[in-house]
């Protein structure tokens, strides 16, 4: 049976880029779902074709192979997913307040269904797709740490905190934030909503961080 006849493309100048035929967009959307939901190995092209109301032949015509489809879809999705992370905003509140806000947003995002699925995918397929792992790491964890480190560096300069190694401090904070909560969520041991757990974890992490990096200390630490 014929599928719904869609209006043939006549406009190609409106959208910035990402201007593609509806069939391809449907395939992309379906592939995202399938791969994120079932993983690379278990996700089949039959499944993708079915959800996209397309045929496998069309998929192959545009992406060449399963590997090609996976690379294209996931590579693109990475950039889309981690876009919010790159938005480094200027914060002027006291450090603990800012950390609380950043931490909550960060942790919420880490534990969102789509990011959890993404994590499972990268962890299980990272060694098979090095360039995807690379992109993921650069756009995700690395950028998050760099952003927080920049903030810490500022506040160190203003004397509000004492951080000799901002990148390390940022890493510690973010990792403490994830904590066991992330392990439990990613393995399905706990399920949403996580709001209560997130709030508790953020408060505890901020408190620990401030205890470690607050300036008012008597210890005769080395200079600097």
């Amino acid at each position: 049976m014929k599928s719904c006849p869609r209006s043939k493309p006549g406009k190609t100048a409106a959208a910035p880029r990402r201007r593609r035929e509806p069939r391809i967009r449907a395939i992309v959307a379906a592939a995202e779902q399938v791969f994120l939901e079932r993983g690379y190995e278990a996700g089949s092209l039959d499944d993708v074709a079915r959800r996209a109301n397309a045929s496998k032949a069309t998929i192959y015509a545009h992406f060449g192979s399963k590997v090609g489809l996976f690379r294209a879809i996931i590579g693109e999705k990475i950039n889309e997913i981690f876009e919010p992370v790159r938005q480094g905003e200027a914060h002027h509140a006291p450090v603990p307040i800012v950390l609380h806000g950043l931490g909550t947003a960060f942790l919420r995002r880490m534990l969102s269904p789509v990011v959890l699925k993404f994590y499972r995918l990268i962890v299980s397929q990272g060694t098979q797709f090095p360039e995807l792992a690379q992109t993921w790491f650069a756009n995700g964890p690395k950028t998050a740490i760099a952003t927080l480190a920049a903030f810490l560096r500022e506040r160190h300069a203003s004397g509000e905190i004492v951080v000799a190694t901002p990148d390390l401090a940022a890493e510690f904070f973010l990792m403490s934030l994830r904590g066991v909560l992330h392990l439990q969520a990613v393995t399905g041991l706990i399920v949403p909503p996580f709001d209560k757990a997130i709030a508790a974890k953020v408060s505890a992490a901020v408190e620990m961080f401030m205890r470690a990096y607050a300036p008012q200390r008597v210890t005769q630490r080395r200079g600097r």
Copy 2:
């Protein structure tokens, strides 16, 4: 359809357990390799049979299905793998020294090939095999944290450190220890040897921990 041949009643005094026919042992060993190396989905029973010099029929006779084999093999392997974690030893050195030793051992283990493969497996299959995720979490992270927390509690009592919430402090320390290093290793972005990176990470984490939990503080912080 035969079910899993569990522990046979009889001589369970001499040998701890593991009293089985050589064929089964070969299958178990092969299955461990295959599943840890290629994952659950990609790992095939043909592959297992080949490496075990056995036939698929024999596998089915003893384990019933692929799922059954996986559950049995991985469930058993978890207990074997994380046995060292449970060895809570008594330490009498100063806290930073002990943390350094524990941290190094812990991180080394976390980044060992087999534990990394295990992590990939649990992360990707955790939601499909809840009881495995449960066992893994209880024997791994949870036990590690509990062990460290017990140590911290002792030293808190002796006044050497000030930890109001030992479990949280232990979690923070261990998570800070893993840090980005673990992410990079698990996704294949970096490869062994990790010794240099481990040493650096441990020192930094211990320093941070002591800064946060050392007792010599001016607690004139308003509020607290």
